[in-house]
Amino acid sequence: MIRIANGQGFWGDWLEAPVRLVEQGPIDYLTLDYLAEVTMSILQKQRQADPSLGYARDFPPLIGRIAKSMLDRNVRVIANAGGVNPIACAEAVRKAAPGIKVAIVLGDDVFGRIDEFLAKGYRMANLDTGEPVTAVRDRILSANAYSGAFPLADALATGAHVVLAGRAADPALALAPMIHHFGWGAIDWDKLASGSVAGHIIECGTQTTGGNCQVDWQTIPDMGNIGYPIVEAEPDGTFVVTKHPRTGGRVHSDVVKEQLLYELGDPKNFIAPDCIADFTTIHLEDIGPDRVRVSGVRGRDRPANLKLSISYANGWKAMGTMVYSWPQALEKARIADRIVRTRLESLGLRFEEIYTEFLGSSACHGPVAHACPDPPEVQLRIGVRGDDRKAVDRFTRELIPLVLSGPPGATGYGEGRPPVREIVAYWPALIPREEIRPSIEVLG
C-alpha cells in the first residue's frame, strides 16, 4: 500500500496544507495541482515579460520549507507547478532546496508548434463550438497538451525527490506513483481507470474532505484545521480515501460522491490521457470513521487524441459595483443601472455585452431566486466587455459619479475605479497523441 496525498487543489489554495500533510502523519507521495484552464496563459505572459518566470512561484519556497521533512520522512512530490517554464522552476527549487533532486517532464508545451500542426492539417477545432483554431491564430497566448501519468512515472523512476511537470492532467499526478510503485502497464485499463478516479477524488483538495459540502455542513468538525485528502492505494487498483488523524473535516461516502460528480461530463466516458474510466462502475463503502473504500472501477482503451489547452486574447472587461441601502434598495439599484446605461449610450460607447446583476436579490440564482420584498441593501454590479480597451476604460469612470448624481443612499465605492482586465479565453481542442513526445530532464 502507498499513501498519496493532495495538498493543493488550485494555485491559491491554503499554503499550510502541504506542510501539514508532510509533517502530521505518514504519506509517501504529495501531489500539488497548480493549474486551472487559463493559468498557463497568465504564466506565458509572465515569461514574455521576464524569461526567468512562467511557473507557479509559490512552489520553490514551499519545497525550501518542507525539504528537510521530505528527506527525513521519505516523501516525494509530484506537481504541475512548472507551468510554461518548468526548467526555470526546477532551478528555483534547487536554489531554495539544494539537497533536492528534481526530474522535469517536458514536451507538453506546444505554443511554438501551432503552425507546424496547422501545416500537417490539424484544425484544432474548438471542442465547444467547432470553429478551427485559425479563427484566433494571431491571438494565441499559450498552447499545452494535457499529458498523462506514464512520463511522470518515468520521472519518479529516476529517483528524484520532486517530479515537476507543465500541463500534466490533474488526475495523472496521483496515478503516476501507482504506475511507478505497482508496475502497472499501459493496457491495465481497470487499474489505470481506478487510479484516475483516485486522482479525480483528491485533485480538488478538501472538496473531498468536507469543504464546499452540502451534507450536514454545519456539523462538519474543525474546518479551521481541515485535513487534506489522502488515498491509500493498493496494487489491485482499489483504494481508501482518508485524511490524517486529529485534523478537521469529514471523509464520508456522501462527501466523496459530491466530488466524484464535480465538473463531470458523461460518467461512462471520463476521458483521462491514459484511459477512459466508467464512473457508473465505482463502488463506495464507508469502512470506518473518515475512511471510504473505493472499488470496482472499470476502464477501457485510452483515446487516440490528447486534449490541448489553448488560450487566446479575447478583448477586455471590467466590473464595477455600488451599494444601495433600504428603503427601496432594489429599485434604486435598477434605476442606477439605467442611468449608467443611458450615459454609456450617450457617449457612443459600444460593447459586446453589458451585464447587470443585483447582489442580495438575484445575482447567484437569476430567474429562480426567491424575491425578497424590501432587502436592507442591494449591491449593483455592472460588467462590460468588448474589443475596445478605451471604451472599457471609460466605463470604469461612469460608476462613481452615481454617488452624487443618482438615487439616494449610494455607498460602498471606497475602492474607487475598477480595473480593466484583459480577457484570456480558453480554447479546448484535440491533437493526435503521437505528436506529443515527452522527455525527462534531471537536475541534482
Partner: protein, 105 residues
C-alpha cells in the same frame, strides 16, 4: 407528495467552459427511482428558464444514487469571458434544491 429537492438530495455544481454541470445525489437510495422519474432534463431546463440557452443533458449513476446534468450555454460565455458573479456555476446546484418534486410511490 411534493417536497423540495433539498429534502431528498444534495448537489454539487461546476463548470466546463460555458457548460454548467450539476450533480444531484439522493441521501437515501429508496428515493432514487422518484428522482430518475421526476427530475428529467426537460424539467431542469424549464426550471432555469432563460438562464440555460442551450440543451440540458442528463446522465444516470445508479451506483451513486446520482444524476449528472449538463446545462449547455448556461454561464454567460463561461470561464473568463462571463461577466457573472458566478461565472463558474458554483451555486447552480443550490438553486436546483428549490425545485419541488413528487416522491409518491
Amino acid at each position: 407528495m411534493k417536497v423540495p429537492l433539498a429534502k431528498i438530495a444534495h448537489t454539487r455544481s461546476g463548470d466546463k467552459g460555458d457548460t454548467c454541470n450539476v450533480g444531484v445525489i439522493v441521501y437515501d437510495a429508496r428515493y432514487y427511482p422518484a428522482l430518475v422519474r421526476e427530475l428529467t432534463a426537460e424539467r431542469v431546463k424549464s426550471f432555469f428558464g432563460e438562464w440555460v440557452k442551450g440543451k440540458v443533458e442528463r446522465f444516470e449513476l445508479p451506483n451513486l444514487g446520482a444524476l449528472n446534468f449538463l446545462l449547455h450555454e448556461a454561464l454567460g460565455g463561461g470561464g473568463t469571458v462571463s461577466l457573472r458573479i458566478d461565472a463558474q456555476g458554483k451555486t447552480f446546484g443550490a438553486a436546483l434544491l428549490r425545485l419541488e418534486i413528487d416522491i409518491s410511490e
